[in-house]
Symmetry: C2
Subunit: 256 residues, 2 copies
Amino acid sequence: VGETGANRGAAAVPQAGSARWRVHACSSCEARSSSEWGALCGDDVRVLSEARIVHTYRRGQAIFYASSSCIGLHCVQQGTVAIRKTGPRGDALMLRLATRGDTLGYRTFFSGKPYAADGIALTECTVCFVPRRAVMALLESRPEVGMRFLERLARDLRESEDAQMRSATLPLRAQLVHLLLRLRDDFGEVHDDGTIILSLPMSRRDLASMLGTRPETITRLTKALEADEVAFFKGRRATIPDIDRMLDEVEPYSEA
Amino acid sequence: VGETGANRGAAAVPQAGSARWRVHACSSCEARSSSEWGALCGDDVRVLSEARIVHTYRRGQAIFYASSSCIGLHCVQQGTVAIRKTGPRGDALMLRLATRGDTLGYRTFFSGKPYAADGIALTECTVCFVPRRAVMALLESRPEVGMRFLERLARDLRESEDAQMRSATLPLRAQLVHLLLRLRDDFGEVHDDGTIILSLPMSRRDLASMLGTRPETITRLTKALEADEVAFFKGRRATIPDIDRMLDEVEPYSEA
DNA sequence: CGGGAGCTTGACATTAATCAAGATCGGTGG
DNA sequence: CCACCGATCTTGATTAATGTCAAGCTCCCG
């Protein structure tokens, strides 16, 4: 897990020379079109492409640290990044995951304050860094980009409030099922017979912290789900034989 | 508490004629300068002033309903508004309060989706409504307004994540103290001898729902705080004899 | 093959939810 | 002004859920 602890407190600013593999231009980046940068066209894409700095991170490396200053945006081109917030007493909460196509750090960027969370690569990652100056220039030349970010932030906020509601009203078991269902989009694989395999990118500890609980509780919940044949767990792999069983778990709490 | 239940499901669109009192123009509105509209000047303020519709709400009236569509922004000029989200099974969470100078509904506005929460007047309120068209026009002529909203959303998101962290790690007692300390800004009054009087704008039920707990628990916590002479409660009035006592309550959970 | 982090398991303690009365408050109408 | 009413709040007994602690296990990694 390596250099996670190194150069603590300073922003991890990727240098141009540190890109380890040649990657394609932004114009041909599939991750871009589905992101906030999808609003760009023609020349603007070239501007973006020339300004960005591609960087590769190994498992466990930090893309940015809490309390360091934010000097641009990151775009995840490949891999999975964990956004973790460390509490006063060392307890870390996993706030969310970022995967291919996600822009990273925009909350901090627009707030003008230092990062409030760490961004750690959970897998090998390819991430493009777009310096502040370039972001501002693009925002000015393409107001739609700003609108996209407004939409994005508004959506995030709604999701955050939904999560708040869930944690206030749902039993942990239902919350876990809900989380697994959400992870399905990014980490699920459907087999021919309909069973779903989830390859979870994170540890039990992270799983627990995403629900604001302890690893022991997660273990107990997974055992309970296995006992009820809702899902089966082996290491970081979850097998869901019947999606309807999962949906039934949360159904009592959705609508009416 | 009147017409709360009336015309459910339709956006509460204030009519121009429904303003009950003549109010000053936006140019002289103190609430504006501290809001996102503070970036406007000269002509733009006039545009805003002519487009907005002033409306007065009585205690308990809805300013907007969840699932109705968002056709503009609201600015609170006077009074307090509760933003409540109702869960699937009737349980309502109070998400936040809006007071003088707060813009209301911007999350929904930028998300392009229907409201996800209700906005209910807790006191008599004066609220200006700015139609979508005017907002968009101002966003276009004054990019800074967009930036201000980006900042605002980014800040909200950070606060929401802080809240998530608190609810995951702090004991309820500390969470309650923290909430009271935050309410101090808008609803506190400092006496000569240093004691602070909080005039809470909401019921115990709302207080409970802000922490994701039950009214009974709030009662027990307030009793415990009284027993420890940290704060005293009578109805919707809280008396804090010594602010340091309050700070001591949360201190063990802040930093190191 | 060894070491260590992460995971599992069980016993136990603690917290907060639930349920059910009773008390109090605030507004209303006599 | 007072009596009444419903809603809200309080209180206590009980139960359920989750946290805590400690020990042993497993799996991954070197």
